[in-house]
Structures are given as C-alpha cells and as structure tokens.
C-alpha cells in the first residue's frame, strides 16, 4: 500500500530558535499582539510504499532519526494518512 506522509521538523524545546524569536518580535508591529512561542520548522510531504500504516510510520521514524532531523537540535512529528495517530 502507498501512504501519504507529512513530517514536520522543528528545533527542540530549549534550543534557541533565532528565526522564531525574530518573527515573534516583529508581529506586534503589524498589530498581532499576544503571540508567543513562535517556532520555525520544515515540512516534508511524500508517499511511501509499505505493508501497513504502522510499518510506514516505523520507516519514517527511522528516516527522521538518521537523516531528516539532526536529533541533537531537532524534533519531528510524523503523520501517516489513515494511521489515526499523529
């Protein structure tokens, strides 16, 4: 089966995110007050051939750990279509 995957990566909590901080500081200038906790990340969308959703998720998790993220500074959230979990 082919599953649609969305991987979102972002800097881990506790790792300084200067892009996010700068965006957060800029928003009040446009009247967007009260915004906090801005974090900038990346999104990867692709499809993957796998026996079932669980196997697809496991493979994507390995992919994140070994390549899509640098685990020292980044976390990933994986969504697999039809999986139910996120």
């Amino acid at each position: 089966m082919r599953f649609a995957v969305l991987v979102e990566t972002r800097l881990r909590d506790g790792v300084a995110d200067p892009q996010g901080a700068t965006i957060e500081r800029s928003l009040p200038a446009l009247g967007f007050d009260g915004v906090s906790g801005v974090r900038v990340g990346k999104a990867f969308r692709f499809t993957i051939e796998s026996d079932d959703a669980a196997a697809a998720r496991a493979e994507v998790a390995d992919m994140c750990k070994r390549f899509l993220t640098n685990p020292v500074i980044e976390d990933a959230t994986i969504s697999v279509e039809g999986d139910g979990a996120t």
Binding site: L11, V15, P18
Partner: protein, 225 residues
Amino acid sequence: MASRVGVVVFPGSNCELDVVEAVRGLGGEAELLWHGDASLGGVDAVVLPGGFAHGDYLRPGAIARFSPIMRAVDAFASDGGPVIGICNGFQVLCESGLLPGALQKNAGLKFLCKPVVVRVETDTTALTVDVRVGRELRIPINHFEGNYTCLPDTLAELRADDRIVLRYTDNPNGSVDDIAGICSAGRNVVGLMPHPERACHPLLGSTDGAPLLRSLLVRAGALAA
C-alpha cells in the same frame, strides 16, 4: 615522498584553494580531492574546507556525508589520520558523526564575517600540536550557522576529556561554553568555525592561522615539531 594534505572539494565548497595556498605557503604539499572519488589517493592529512557543500540543502553538512569520499575519510579518521573541518567542514564532521554536537544558527541571527580572538585550550590535537596552550589567535569567522550546541552529557564529556580545542574570548555567535573548535576522542579529528587559512599571510591582516595549519603539517609528518 613528501607528506601531502588533501583538500576535499564538494559541490559548493569555496575555501579549498585558500587552504591549498596556505599549506603551500607553510612549506607543505597540498592537492584537491573530488568528493565523488572513493579514495583519498594516499594523502597524509585531510581538510574539509569552508563553503556550502551540496548547497547546504536540508541542513549545512547533511548531504555531504553521502559523498563517496566520506567513506574514505571515515576510514582514514578511524585509523588515526588527521582530519580538519573548517567552518562548513566542521558542520560536515558533525553531521557525519565524526564529531559530536551540532551547529545551529548564530544567536544574533546575523551572518558574521569578522576577525575574532580564540584561545588555544589544548596542545595535543592535530590542529594545535605546535601551539602553546593559552595562546590567543586572531582569525576570521565567516558563518551563519556557527553556534555550537550539544547535549549536556556530551558537553561534560568534551570538558572532562579536554576536547575543547579553541574557545572564543568574546563569544560572537552564542556557542555553548564559548566553543570555537572541538576534537574527537582520538584527538586526530578537529572541527572549528574560524578560518585559519584566511590568516596565513601579513597581507590578510593576520598570520595567526599559520601555527594551526603548521600543526596539521607536523601531525601529517611533513614538518618537524
């Protein structure tokens, strides 16, 4: 045959000729190595130069580890061969697992291109064997992602094993513990953000990079200590 320094060229490297020139100016031999080759051609030391290997796609250094030559660099380093990563080369070493930790965006979110002062913290690495501990060197930095970070356990290990090679005297980028350069457990693999090759001639404003590259030549067997 004289000892030779191999300087790896990735697509997007841009400091390789500066390194070659600096090494030759110090009396060493240097040659370029193409990232797509699987062999190091018998060189006695390897430098991964600055630039934007593979366009910094995904993360700086993240794609370079798939270049065929990195398998040879890995084996060379495992055998104790001296390997230096400068700036983007430091990022490549971290991403390929030859050095721990990671380099994130500068704390001030500014690209930094200026001379900085670093202090030599150990004289037992491939980059500092010919330099006195405590010596302060004025060397340029030129980076956006030079803010060294690592897990607390890693930092404790680096400190305990005296693996912090260079520290900034006035931290420009937010690096943890003022780290400008670190080495591997074997002390033969060194990564640093400053560019010693850009401080090897009086016309460049400083010759403080020379003792570092000279150390590499000493370690490679090209020069006497």
